[in-house]
């Protein structure tokens, strides 16, 4: 009995591992079908991600925005708000961070860098705030509004790097290099790893604490589980939703900021978010919306990203294979979430006596599973 209990508790985790393995396996089948050796591909994937100190540093660096975006998704999702605008919030947060980095001069690192980071947080939170305001005040579905805001943000960045923030005296569509006083210092010399790697760690600890150990976290879960009941219990549902969306956007803004002032190139170009705003959602889904689960899930995606580069360079396998794998992960998780819920429901109705007990236990929303 207890062994079965453990299996049931571990089932979601096992499921996520299984999804990752199956997605990778399909990717390897594709590799084999296009005439390459899967063994060589896996080797390149591993070496590309962990082959040297510098590669490990790059992989860790790639995890930074992924973890932040995933936490952003989880925050909103705990209260059942679906923030698909993380990509746009990354862009706007990053742009504000870049503006502070470029336009304010003569400050020491101890002032300039925190300012730039805060600007990222604020930019993302404000941009998500637009959707939050529309949701709370004008009853606009946040899924649709955040999707639209993503597309507007793309145009804003395109304008900034060709207009107000364009590198002076050039027609390149990028900004001038950020001054050193606004960039995260390197953690290991001559690698991609900078001190901003601590930001997601701090965010993770804080998020786990807030979500699981504070009244605000409880209100979030209550709102997510049953809005009406929460309202009756005296929770101000709108305020909770707006706060959740703002925090979610703030985390995405931090991710955008990190990509820029914690990145290798040190300038802002078009499309610097590079789909991380959506990849982060996949990370959160694979982590089954648990903050702790985000770490291994983000690692997997970072490995794919970094290893995919070497796979392309060494074996000529298009790095688009990484996108295919990521897409498969999202699709499998979406399908599997439903199957898991169904299994649980079946279990509950088999165990219960059909006196309505099952319905209570089945409140799967409490776990934050869609």
């Amino acid at each position: 009995m207890s062994a079965r209990r453990i299996f049931y508790a571990a089932e979601p985790t096992l499921f996520s591992v299984l999804v990752a393995i199956v997605a990778l396996a399909i990717a390897m089948v594709i590799v084999a079908l296009s005439g390459n050796s899967p063994a060589a591909a896996l080797e390149a994937l591993w070496e590309g991600a962990f082959g040297s100190t510098s590669r490990i540093a790059s992989t860790l660096n790639a995890m930074v925005p992924l973890v932040l975006v995933a936490l952003g998704w989880i925050f909103a999702f705990r209260s059942k708000r679906v923030n698909v605008g993380l990509e746009g919030q990354m862009l706007i947060g990053g742009a504000l961070s870049a503006a502070v980095a470029l336009e304010i001069g003569g400050l020491p690192l101890a002032v300039h860098l925190p300012l730039a980071v805060l600007a990222g947080l604020l930019g993302g939170a404000l941009y998500a705030g637009v959707a939050a305001w529309m949701w709370a005040r004008r009853d606009v579905n946040e899924i649709v509004s955040t999707l639209m805001l993503n597309l507007i943000a793309v145009q804003v960045i395109s304008w900034l790097v060709r207009g107000p923030l364009q590198i002076p005296g050039s027609d390149l569509s990028r900004t001038a290099p950020f001054p050193d006083s606004s960039r995260w210092p390197q953690l290991i010399a001559d690698t991609a790893l900078r001190w901003d790697v601590l930001v997601p760690v701090a965010a993770l600890v804080l998020a786990a604490f807030v979500l699981n150990r504070t009244t605000f976290g409880f209100r979030l879960r209550l709102t997510g589980a049953n809005e009406e009941a929460a309202e009756h219990a005296g929770v101000r549902v709108k305020r909770v939703g707006v706060t959740a969306l703002a925090i979610s956007g703030g985390l995405a803004g931090l991710a955008g900021s990190s990509v820029l002032i914690g990145g290798q190139t040190g300038t802002m170009t078009d499309g610097f978010a590079a789909g991380i705003g959506f990849e982060g959602i996949a990370v959160a889904l694979l982590a089954r919306n648990s903050p702790v689960g985000v770490l291994p899930a983000a690692l997997l995606f970072a490995v794919l990203q970094q290893g995919g580069g070497l796979m392309e360079a060494r074996l000529g396998i298009p790095s688009n294979l990484v996108l295919v794998t990521q897409g498969l992960v999202i699709v499998f998780v979406a399908a599997g979430t439903f199957l898991l819920r169904r299994r649980r429901r079946a279990r509950v109705s088999a165990a219960g006596t059909g006196t309505g007990q099952g319905a209570v236990v089945d409140g799967s929303a409490v776990e934050g599973v869609a």
């Binding site: 594709i30 296009s34 679906v82 698909v84 529309m134 004008r138 606009v140 579905n141 899924i143 649709v144 509004s145 999707l147 639209m148 805001l149 597309l151 507007i152 793309v154 145009q155 804003v156 395109s158 304008w159 060709r162 207009g163 789909g275 959506f278 990849e279 959602i281 996949a282 889904l285 298009p318 688009n320 294979l321 990484v322 996108l323 295919v324 794998t325 990521q326 897409g327 498969l328 992960v329 999202i330 699709v331 998780v333 979406a334 399908a335 979430t337 439903f338 199957l339 169904r342 429901r345 079946a346 109705s349 869609a370």
Partner: protein
């Protein structure tokens, strides 16, 4: 009277820009009315664009290419329906996944199949309607056009009949508003939603095929460049009504055409300002005619838009709006519509909600 940049070439450019999003929009309209919010539209368009191109290149036939593109859109839509309609998975998440998947699959296959070579296929070209193509203004645009344009125009009354005058349409619209009622009437809700989703995939595929082998003769990675989302915006801005969607696609196409044209000029010509003032005036007049009362905020905003546009038309300042503003314009307009500043848009009640039968569904 000098119409400046508003010549027939601009009209033609607007139609060219509007046709792909009109196809996808007509697909998405039906699917959303049935209760399926298909965020994967972008991916389905991209699938259509790539597989139509690949098919045309391999078979040497553009017609077969189009059919293959449509089939590819349907295939991806079938995956969407299987997961979200059949299994009840979250429509938004599945849609996002399909977009990522489609970007990866098309990019991977394009690189594998064509390597670095840029392959250019000849497009179908224009079919002129003898006699009519001599008509002033509309002749050049509507009667000497690509067959895709004719097809898009013919699809509008087809969708109208399907949605509003057929039993299927009734079932589709009811499935998006009150699926229980459809079920009670003995119609299979899942079946209706399956069909609507596949229809959206087919039309998105057709829209993609229009882009690649219909208009340009090339395929580039990520060539749909957000047009799927633009079609999604058109359905919302069009308030889930056929006329609205057609109007939205025309408007978005025009904005794109104007944007392209203005890149060549140093300053926005006064005719554009007059057109904006006129459009705002017509919108207000239409709202009043429909008996809608404008609030203080809306009245002030409309007055401000018209006033500023007219002032700019008269003053003719040396002013060039960034092209990005024109490109973002459809999305801004859609947000305003959603927030109720440009008329209230109402979502189909059961949109994005999976339908489970209360009894039979429990395993």
């Amino acid at each position: 009277m000098n119409l400046g940049i508003f010549d027939t070439a601009l009209l033609t450019a607007a139609i060219v820009a509007a046709v792909p999003i009109l196809f996808a929009g007509l697909g998405e309209l039906v699917s959303e009315r049935a209760g399926v919010l298909n965020v994967g539209l972008e991916g389905m368009m991209l699938f259509g664009a790539f597989f139509a191109f690949l098919g045309a290149d391999m078979t040497g036939s553009l017609v077969l290419g189009v059919l293959i593109g449509v089939a590819a859109g349907v295939a991806l839509a079938a995956l969407m329906a299987l997961l979200s309609v059949e299994a009840g998975a979250d429509q938004i998440v599945v849609g996002i996944g399909l977009n990522v998947l489609a970007a990866g699959v098309t990019g991977y296959l394009y690189e594998t199949a064509f390597g670095g070579d840029q392959v250019i296929l000849s497009t179908i070209g224009n079919w002129s309607v003898p006699g009519f193509d001599r008509l002033p203004v509309v002749g050049e645009t509507f009667f000497d056009a690509s067959p895709f344009t004719y097809l898009a125009i013919l699809l509008v009354p087809t969708v109208w009949f399907l949605l509003y005058r057929s039993n299927w349409g009734l079932a589709i619209r009811a499935a998006g508003e009150m699926p229980e009622a459809v079920d009670a009437a003995g119609i299979n809700v899942r079946g209706v939603r399956w069909a609507a989703t596949l229809w959206a995939g087919a039309l998105a595929g057709l829209g993609g095929a229009t882009l690649s082998i219909g208009q340009t003769g090339v395929f580039t990675e990520g060539m749909t460049a957000g047009r799927g989302f633009l079609a999604l915006a058109a359905v919302i801005f069009g308030k889930w009504r056929l006329g609205g969607v057609v109007l939205a696609c025309s408007l978005f196409g025009s904005a794109d055409a104007v944007q392209l044209r203005l890149q060549a000029t140093s300053s926005v010509p006064s005719q554009v300002w007059v057109a904006i003032a006129l459009a705002a005036g017509v919108a207000v007049g239409y709202a009043l005619l429909r008996g809608r009362r404008l609030g203080v905020g809306a009245s002030l905003a409309a007055a401000a838009v018209i006033g500023v546009a007219l002032a700019l038309a008269i003053a003719q300042p040396e002013l060039n709006l960034p092209s990005q503003l024109w490109l973002a314009f459809p999305y801004i307009l859609t947000l305003l519509a959603l927030a109720g500043f440009v008329g209230r848009a109402r979502l189909p009640k059961a949109l994005a909600l999976p339908y489970h039968r209360a009894d039979a569904d429990a395993p």
